[in-house]
Point group: C2
Chain length 391, copies 2
């Protein structure tokens, strides 16, 4: 075993993210149905909610394309979205429900439901700043350098209809109907300034808090053990929150979100021997513990900070299901991989480049959707997310 | 107001399904995050679980096509499915998890999760008995008369890829990962005897129990107020459980399931005035109460027992989301309408024929998927669902 792998194993045995293997096993013996808090997560604050918020149980992710080129329209939309998100985060409708002959100002399916820790997180895609050599909103000079166009990675099988977008909206809540209601009304409010490009629901979140049970992904392995935990303020500062000089002032306290829709070839995976599955991931499947002898191409080794110059990302992924994959006869299911970071050029991109080249997992997964968004800092009451960019 | 509508209003004010409007309002003031019991619903019994079981929070519905024509293969599959469903309903894996170099006999993502009231309900589509003039399994003479091919209805916009199937499997649980795990392993186990034809996840169930909060559907209206409640044994006997002479002996205690994937034209609906929405449904949107003056084409009037010869069905529907409808720019969302009955020829078909002709709701919905299944009675431990047909 070389020294890198030895260091990796030592760091894991000391407790990834501050949690030792013993604790992990103990927590695994506390099975729990998917559930979570029903209270309010404040929409306003220094950072947007939904990043360093313990991951809720359900996701709705929507990507939008802007239909015009008016900065005033974009400003209007961002204000309306923030106002609506703030109301919904407190369990309130986005407008009057009793409107007589006029359409209700809230679609209504959330009436009577608790806030359920709803968060709404907004981001700007690269195309807001430049698209086809044009600068529709006059914002090209304000584009953050970390908001690069993601490069192609070996093995990419991207479908443009499942990726990209001018604006990204991550909605999370502990009640799927609360999450659906929020994205539904945000889509309604956006019209006609922005139209949805893609939309995907998720469940079975990655663990992002020391208080959460580490869940299993659809491959049956625990996912999130070595994640940045939201209680780890120093790691958030070092790896998640944007700051100058790499980022412009309007992004200070924001973060960059990379989205990858990663389909799992479930039929192939399910037909693979347990030993081979464990060697691929690098963990004991049942216990979740790191294998004593890690293959050089094990997923958790290649994605570890030790093999990536110490870099880490805050993963906030969800499992998804999108019907049957007719080509294989297996569920078209996988991981909606969401990760936040201060600079994708130093974090997601080099990590993914290494994985795309060598990861043993590659033959079981396919990256079919990809997007990147600059998520600004939080807003003050009355203000709106993105104000620093468009004012 | 004619006497039919007067009688309808009287019956509603006396309490649909035994619940008065006052109670409904009181229950609406008890908001709750989506959650439910974590315990065991027995797979074995006189009736299959998942019909007269209080509807759980999450659905996975899979339809399968058989690949061969061997009755022995079909029998083998049914036995394996029942054995697996019984184990999973108790929160147990379907086979050994530690298998060394061999693939695990359970995919593993349910390990550590509670049973979450998982139910698995199996049914036979018409094509098992006859397909293209052929009788692949020699079962044509055993086809139940109530298992008709559904006739076309006015306004149908059916996509064959979203409907039909030789075998239907309804999986419900209060944890979405428990439900996914079950359908995932049932798909895996079926190979190569049967391959999935379509698969859809659902949330936001119709109310089917007096103990449940009546939820709102994606149109923002309460759904389930007038449903058959599972506590109502006499209504179950009269309207849900199959019996002779209409059904063959092997279906005694079973039920017929009609599935309709009903897309809601959310953009159109959201742009419709509140008054018009309420006239369309026939209810006050906020309170859920029946309007004092019902239009003749109101949905709840046309679907009521009073206008359908006293016939009722047990609805067990779920909301679904399937991405963006590119034609409208709205969520491709709607209602996975599931209903159980003793004879669709007297229940779903005439009710839907009346609705398809006149329902004010028609301009806001589109039936895009359709299927029908004969769900046999329950099995005894060691036996399997469908034994009476294939033995």
């Amino acid at each position: 075993m070389d020294s890198t792998r030895r260091n990796f194993l030592q760091s894991v045995s000391l407790g990834a993210g501050g949690v030792g293997a013993g604790q992990l096993l103990a927590r695994d013996n506390r099975p729990a149905a998917a559930s979570g808090g029903t209270g309010v997560v404040d929409f306003y604050g220094a950072h947007q909610a939904g990043i360093a918020t313990p991951a809720q149980e359900y996701l709705q992710f929507a990507s939008f394309d802007l239909t015009g080129n008016s900065l005033a329209d974009l400003r209007h939309l961002l204000q309306a979205w923030s106002d609506a998100a703030a109301l919904m985060s407190r369990g309130r409708p986005v407008g009057p429900l009793s409107t007589g002959s006029k359409p209700p100002a809230d679609t209504g399916e959330g009436v009577g439901l608790l806030p359920s820790e709803l968060t709404v997180t907004f981001g700007f895609g690269p195309t807001v700043f430049a698209s086809g050599g044009k600068d529709p909103f006059g914002l090209a000079a304000r584009r953050p350098k970390p908001l690069v166009n993601l490069p192609p990675f070996a093995g990419d099988a991207l479908d443009k209809r499942l990726g990209g977008g001018d604006l990204g909206v991550q909605v999370c809540a502990n009640d799927p109907q609360v999450a659906f209601h929020a994205v539904h009304d945000l889509i309604r409010i956006a019209r006609p300034i922005a139209v949805p490009r893609w939309l995907l629901a998720g469940f079975g979140r990655t663990g992002t808090s020391r208080r959460q049970v580490i869940p299993r992904n659809l491959m049956g392995f625990k996912d999130g053990t070595a994640n940045i935990m939201v209680e780890n303020a120093s790691a958030l500062k070092e790896f998640v929150w944007a700051s100058e000089p790499a980022s412009p002032a309007w992004m200070r306290g924001g973060s960059y979100l990379v989205v990858r829709r990663i389909q799992i070839l479930l039929g192939t995976w399910d037909g693979t021997g347990l030993t081979s599955q464990e060697q691929t991931i690098g963990r004991d499947k049942l216990a979740g513990t790191v294998l004593p002898a890690l293959p050089v191409n094990a997923h958790i080794l290649l994605s570890s900070p030790q093999l990536n110059g110490g870099q880490r990302i805050l993963r906030r992924g969800y499992s998804y299901l999108d019907g049957i994959d007719q080509a294989t006869g297996s569920p078209a299911a996988g991981l909606m991989f969401l990760c936040y970071q201060r600079d994708p050029r130093r974090q997601f991109i080099p990590i993914q480049r290494q994985l795309a080249g060598s990861d043993a997992l590659n033959k079981f997964v396919s990256h079919i959707g990809s997007a990147i968004f600059a998520c600004p800092p939080g807003a003050r009451p009355g203000g709106f997310v993105g104000e620093g960019l468009v004012q």
